[in-house]
């Protein structure tokens, strides 16, 4: 190949240039041929077959869920302390609390995941570890209204989840044991 920036000085240099250029081009073809024969890395989305579907690692920050506690009113661990609603940078969590003291629980708990940026801060600040993000990533909807998760929805998603999901045991993260954080709540 000739370039306008570097001209070969002699006929032999020109020939060497052509041969070198051709060799570099052919080497590239060897690479693509090798990849042609390698196994393919992409898959099909979405698979109807759950066995083939990509499953995110635990701790993936997808859709929301509220963690259950059958002994509490409302069946949820949440104490409607507003810590998550306050810390949320996007202000996408809307809670209405009910009851006083130990009986306090959310009557309404709405998360607008269309506004949410999945920063995980609500999980981080929750004093009772009542909210979590789940690996569920099928969050598409046709209208903005469908993107609002209400309390029943969040409760249903929390089925079978015992603690906020993380890739490591909770002690090795910024999440602290629930008791330690209760003091913080009264401060805030």
């Amino acid at each position: 190949m000739t370039t306008n920036t570097r001209q070969p000085q002699s006929a032999w240099a020109l020939l060497a240039d052509i041969v070198g250029g051709a060799a570099s081009v052919i080497k590239g073809h060897v690479v693509t041929l090798r990849n042609w024969l390698r196994p393919k890395v992409t898959g099909q989305y979405p698979y109807r077959d759950p066995a083939k579907e990509w499953v995110p690692k635990p701790g993936y920050r997808g859709d929301f869920a509220l963690i259950h506690d059958p002994e509490r009113p409302g069946g949820l661990r949440c104490i409607a302390c507003m810590a998550c609603a306050n810390v949320c940078p996007d202000k996408c969590i809307h809670i209405i609390g009910q009851g006083k003291g130990k009986e306090r629980h959310p009557a309404a708990f709405d998360i607008d995941i269309g506004l949410c940026m999945y920063c995980w801060l609500c999980v981080e600040v929750c004093p009772v570890r009542a909210i979590t993000l789940t690996p569920e990533y099928h969050n598409v909807a046709f209208t903005p209204q469908e993107l609002i998760r209400d309390i029943n929805d969040l409760k249903a998603r929390g089925e079978g989840i015992a603690e906020p999901l993380l890739p490591v045991p909770i002690e090795r993260s910024v999440l602290q044991p629930p008791t330690a954080k209760k003091k913080d709540v009264s401060e805030a």
Binding site: M82, A85, N86, H94, I95, I96, A108, D110, Q145
Partner: protein
């Protein structure tokens, strides 16, 4: 962090008290009162000059502190309590030394001498802080708006800037405008923050 040091006081007024360190006596002599403050920090020298002499001062620095090859790092504006400030940073290539040059301006009619001719890299940041803080940059070859559309009213990074919520570029968010309609109930907890 090895280069950890005690935090610098923020208020620029307080820095004038220690005045100019002896290491920069030559510069002080040359610029007199227009070199407001000069001190050494862990990062490198830090100068405060009169805004009109900023370009001259940096030119003088190129004969002393910035004589080595150096990178034009950054220029930005800061709003202090009583004044607007522009901060220029240069970094030596060979070792860790950041040279900071500041200029304070009154808030009502801020103007500063441009470095854009000496450092072409200063063109864009100067345009940026000019539109963001309403600072007039004298001697700049091209003072169009950089990030904001032409004709934008106000200077967004000023503390007293009011966001034009009725601006056509800003679509209203239905959830925030009328949560009752969207959610079916009034949200609690809004307004409890801070």
């Amino acid at each position: 962090m090895p280069e950890q040091e005690a935090p610098q006081p923020a208020a620029p007024e307080a820095e004038r008290v220690p005045g100019i360190e002896p290491a920069f006596a030559a510069l002080a002599e040359r610029f007199g009162d227009e070199l407001v403050a000069a001190r050494k920090t862990a990062d490198g020298p830090d100068f405060t000059v009169a805004p009109a002499r900023l370009a001259d001062f940096v030119a003088a620095l190129r004969e002393s502190v910035l004589a080595e090859p150096h990178l034009f790092v950054d220029a930005c504006g800061v709003e202090r309590e009583t004044a607007l400030e522009v901060v220029y940073r240069f970094s030596l290539v060979s070792r860790r030394e950041i040279v900071t040059v500041r200029a304070h301006m009154p808030k009502d009619k801020p103007a500063v001498a441009s470095l854009a001719v000496m450092y072409p890299g200063a063109r864009w940041p100067e345009r940026e802080y000019a539109e963001m803080f309403g600072i007039t940059v004298t001697g700049h070859p091209d003072m169009r708006h950089l990030l904001l559309p032409e004709g934008w009213v106000g200077h967004p990074l000023r503390k007293d800037y009011v966001y034009p919520l009725d601006h056509p570029y800003l679509a209203p968010d239905p959830l925030r405008e009328d949560p009752v309609r969207v959610l079916g109930h009034a949200p609690e907890g809004e307004g409890e923050e801070s």
